[in-house]
Symmetry: C2
Subunit: 349 residues, 2 copies
Amino acid sequence: MEGPVSGLFNMTSSELRITLSHGGGGRASSQLIDQLFLKHFNNPLLAKRNDQAIFQPPVGRLVMSTDSHVVSPLFFPGGNIGSLAVHGTINDLVMSGAWPLYLSAAFILEEGLLYADLEKIVISMAEAACQAGTPIITGDTKVVERGKADGVFITTTGIGVVADGVNISGECATPGCAILINGTIGDHGVAIMATREHLQFASAIASDSAALHELVASMLQVAPGAIRCLRDPTRGGVAAVLNELAMQSGVGMLLNEQALPIKPDVQAVCEILGLDPLYVANEGKLIAICEADAAADLLASMRQHPLGRDAAIIGYVVDEPKTMVEMTTMMGGRRLVDWPLGEQLPRIC
Amino acid sequence: MEGPVSGLFNMTSSELRITLSHGGGGRASSQLIDQLFLKHFNNPLLAKRNDQAIFQPPVGRLVMSTDSHVVSPLFFPGGNIGSLAVHGTINDLVMSGAWPLYLSAAFILEEGLLYADLEKIVISMAEAACQAGTPIITGDTKVVERGKADGVFITTTGIGVVADGVNISGECATPGCAILINGTIGDHGVAIMATREHLQFASAIASDSAALHELVASMLQVAPGAIRCLRDPTRGGVAAVLNELAMQSGVGMLLNEQALPIKPDVQAVCEILGLDPLYVANEGKLIAICEADAAADLLASMRQHPLGRDAAIIGYVVDEPKTMVEMTTMMGGRRLVDWPLGEQLPRIC
């Protein structure tokens, strides 16, 4: 490679920024691919440098899921947009009962982005993908002019495999089923909001961003046929997911407020910011709806996993033709847990 | 559904715009999914409304590809960002010799986008996907604040299947192979530039955006083992793709300028705008590198397909340790066809 040419990297400069030529398909693009993506995502399929990746199909049904990530700020306690993009798509696969296999990653970069920030993000993605055993096998990079995006947007798509006999889907909840969650709610959304609002006292609250494939695999071992629905309560939080599942299954839900696991400092920040934790996004949580007689065993097995230590049964599915989600409050009353209507927390994931 | 509530659609208004709540995971998001995406992308896998889609694996190796689309303007002669996003990812799959099976689509919307524009784009995607027999089986929508994106960005990811015996990859070119293209170069990039620059006289130039799976299937029938490399010359044009393939295969390329198919009006606009057609993006073209003795048959079969009528043999692979791409000019000289260095045409796809 020649000396410094317009658009090419001088990798020693801490002031290095992304330019439009890094998305142009020419030499600067090629250098970005070699020195950043191939280096960190390092795997034989990606290293072929084709515009696609070929792999042998696994035994079982395949599952595909995609998510664009636009979180702001890009870096937050407990992660950044890169680790989030890996965890988010793995979790969407896993919520079908799948084991994740491969990821793709498509980047939209804003001209002027600091290369050092992009590299941090890419390294986090690589670490998250490696930890989950889910290589990033193909990708794309586009650059748009300054002011036409916001730093980095990352779209990850995943492929996974679902074993025979596993049939988990949003329409499978029936009255009597138990509703479980694997831990405390609202951590991710509150960590983002506290960072955005510069709440010093809340700086210890970290996102719960994590890949849930191992937790779900252990749940499937304990209660293979009894898990009816799985969904990760991200945007719109637990409230949105329960309303979606109620609508898909044509049932109601009755939550028990007392049973909801919430960290005291998350609760405190929610009170200050006027947020209801039921509507706040999570990135390492799942809602499981299972047959009632399997609930105790499932709960016990979840609590044995590091990502399920605070698991709880938070309510039951009920026969309710209007598919309403309600909650027995601490005061003994009942209140509607409606769909989120406006947008409490934009750009949370 | 109740009457007009903040964030919900009044579908009769032509002034309807996207708001942050359409990306919030609540009722407005749900309405957008129902009334736009499920309606137009209409297929049973998507209709399950899960965060992922499950399908049976085909017989053969699988191929995965992803592309973010950030083209500006969103609408141009010959297509829009929606049809482009479908064709672009199908073509990336097909360049491995694959047959495309399924697509996912992830949208990043800018607050304030006209709903009517989004609907036009979604309808084009649905038509393109239907025409190619490649349903959009899962997706995602995010909304970012006004000024943090540029209308719509669409990331499509595709899954395809490669038949046994097909082994097409960028490192397989060897000296003596012929280099073919299926038609005229530069149409897409020039159509975009002419739209951007409001060149009235060039308004008849349309993008060549098209899905190439049927053309490639017919080529594979004629010369199953003889096709070594396939790649679509999008960003950076024919020049970038030939340099990539030369680098991957460790060979040189020698083009014949006289053989390059270029429409006279595309050539004229290139001269006015100071563009070299070799560096201008295409969206319905492929470069095929094949064994020399199969080239004539392959060319004849390409010309029988509507997307290959202007196919031509444009050069040969040569033994060249520096992996240079050169061209015999009309004047009888030789010139280097180097990597594109800067960014001639940002946001072309």
